[in-house]
Amino acid sequence: MNDNIEKIFHLDKSHWGACVEENETQMQYGIYETVTRTFAFTFFNPRRLTFLSNLFSSRFDLRLINLTTASNFNSTLIDNSCCENWCLNKKDISSVVSAERESNEIISASELFQRDSNYGNNELLINNRQYFNYVINLLVLFDDLIGTRFEFVTTMRSDWDTGGTSNYNKQEYNFHYQHITVPIEFKDYKNNTLEYYYYLRKAVYDVVYTEFDFEIAKAKIEKLLSTIL
């Protein structure tokens, strides 16, 4: 088992903010939940956060925010141990709400404020933090697996990535694939083919989209991943 998989299967040992990817950009982004007006998760890679928000779009309305642009931002200001305590100002909230949900537009934060507890109980959101972290690691895992096991794909990777993220939004979701707990389509694929990896990735994402209970989702996903790991 490589390090990536180790981290996915042993999330309890990971610490908040830890991830298998390195932050090379020095940028930090957050996904902002519009009902309780707080941040659900932060990460440095906006593409992964966009995908994450799409996977949870039937549960939360999550919008992508560039935190680095906030006037009071510094590298120790906000992370996944405290992001639920932070909020945007009214102007930024207005920009978030007026943006099309499906556009995946990145809103630049102008300032970060302590969240007002009058905005409501965000316990359910906080309880999903572990699930968010798990899914971020899954996204990295699949890129890593596909990138390392199928070297010829490397040059096409940006195309595959685009297909893997932007196509997986609620508008284009194909529910015919949703009822399959164990992907029967796999029967025609050898489990070391590229096609198999893409079907597997989709099956895993389907589990995330439809299974709201983290522990159940994790069990299903690990069963799927056991076919290749």
Binding site: V35, F60, D61, Y173, H179
Partner: protein, 356 residues
């Protein structure tokens, strides 16, 4: 019951309108209300030249009968389900349009809670991929194990009953009151209780004084027809949206049909007999008016958007995410738009109100 509307689009010209005895100046006033965002629009128009003579008779059923009684949303919904069972007398399938949004999910929840087994067997849920994506939990827990479901596109009104989530939005609207709070330094309570604020609402949207008078008188006159007393700003705003929106919601289903069907008397009869919108029941309207100010409809917190309906759904499926985080989304009926332009213009029959 009172007849509600004539109906047009912004393409109508003066000559066409006069041939249908519609006042062009009045129509222009309504157009301004819609174009300025003052009225909620269903967004689907029927070309005037295709409107046959029977058209206005469709809407005889639309006006609620006002009663001064207390009723909860849950009671209204359960009552409506029992009413609908009585309405479905023919032994034909009952198509339920499900978008995954709050209104249509509430309808399906009410059916699931109140319909007996024989009626449930007749249910076919009409959905799309987007419906599923909107609410996969409800699909997996309620729809899939209990009902037949089909993808949108094969249904007809001739051989099926049709029910959908419209005009659910008309029950909940009072948004203009909140808009007003941004420009006037008053509390929501003051805004809601003082009908003179209507002038600020309408003028903020670009109407002249004379147009404000005309429109407010129009609403008063119309409400009197059903013995409904409008006393607060919220009452007026609710009524404006209800009387406009309810009727268009019925027509929204008509517009998907080929022109030859719209002109077909048999089809029209089938449509009238088979397509009764869920949220037009009197109990709903009474609940809506009573809930304007008491916070049961909307207390300003976005989490509580349509909360009584979400709570009703939660009582069935126990999905906390949907109850606590679901807000506005696109309804399936909004996706039925053809190439016809919007907004609709609806105008009351007998524009003598203008001269009262």
């Amino acid at each position: 019951m009172n007849k509600i509307v004539y109906f047009g689009s912004k393409f109508y010209d003066k000559q066409q309108l006069s041939s249908y005895n519609i006042d062009y100046a009045s129509l222009n006033k309504f157009r301004k209300l819609f174009n300025n965002g003052l009225l909620f629009s269903s967004g689907i128009g029927l070309p005037r030249l295709q409107i046959p003579e029977w058209y206005d008779t469709i809407f005889d059923l639309s006006v609620p009968q006002w009663q001064n009684k207390s009723i909860t949303f849950e009671e209204a919904t359960n009552n409506r389900a029992l009413e609908m069972m009585k309405y479905y007398t023919e032994d034909i399938p009952i198509l339920v349009y499900w978008s995954g949004g709050i209104d249509s999910t509430c309808v399906l929840s009410a059916i699931h809670k109140n319909f007996n087994t024989e009626f449930k067997k007749r249910i076919k849920v009409v959905l799309t991929n987007q419906s599923y994506a909107e609410n996969p939990f409800f699909f997996n827990k309620i729809i899939k194990p209990n009902y037949k479901y089909i993808t949108y596109g094969d249904e007809t009104y001739i051989n099926n009953y049709v029910v959908h989530g419209d005009p659910g939005d008309a029950l909940w609207l009072q948004g203009n009151v909140l808009d007003l709070s941004k420009t006037r330094n008053v509390t929501n309570d003051n805004i809601s209780n003082d009908p003179t604020n209507l002038y600020y609402v309408y003028k903020q949207k670009g109407l002249e004084d004379e147009e404000c008078d005309w429109y407010i008188n129009f609403l008063k006159h119309d409400a009197k027809l059903i013995d409904l007393e409008l006393t607060t700003t919220s009452d007026y705003l609710w009524w404006a949206n209800y009387s406009m929106h309810v009727t268009t919601s019925i027509k929204s289903l008509l517009h998907r049909l080929p022109t030859q069907d719209i002109k077909n008397k048999n089809f029209v009869d089938a449509f009238k007999n088979h397509c009764l919108p869920w949220f037009i029941g009197n109990d709903y309207q009474i609940w809506s008016i009573n809930s304007q100010i008491n916070g049961k409809k909307y207390n300003g917190n976005i989490r509580d958007y349509k909360m009584p309906a979400k709570q009703y759904i939660y009582d069935l499926d126990k999905n906390r995410y949907y109850r606590d985080y679901k807000t506005k989304c696109i309804s399936i009926t909004n996706n039925l738009k053809g190439d016809l332009d919007s907004p609709n213009i609806i105008i009351k029959q007998n524009c003598s109100i203008l001269h009262n």
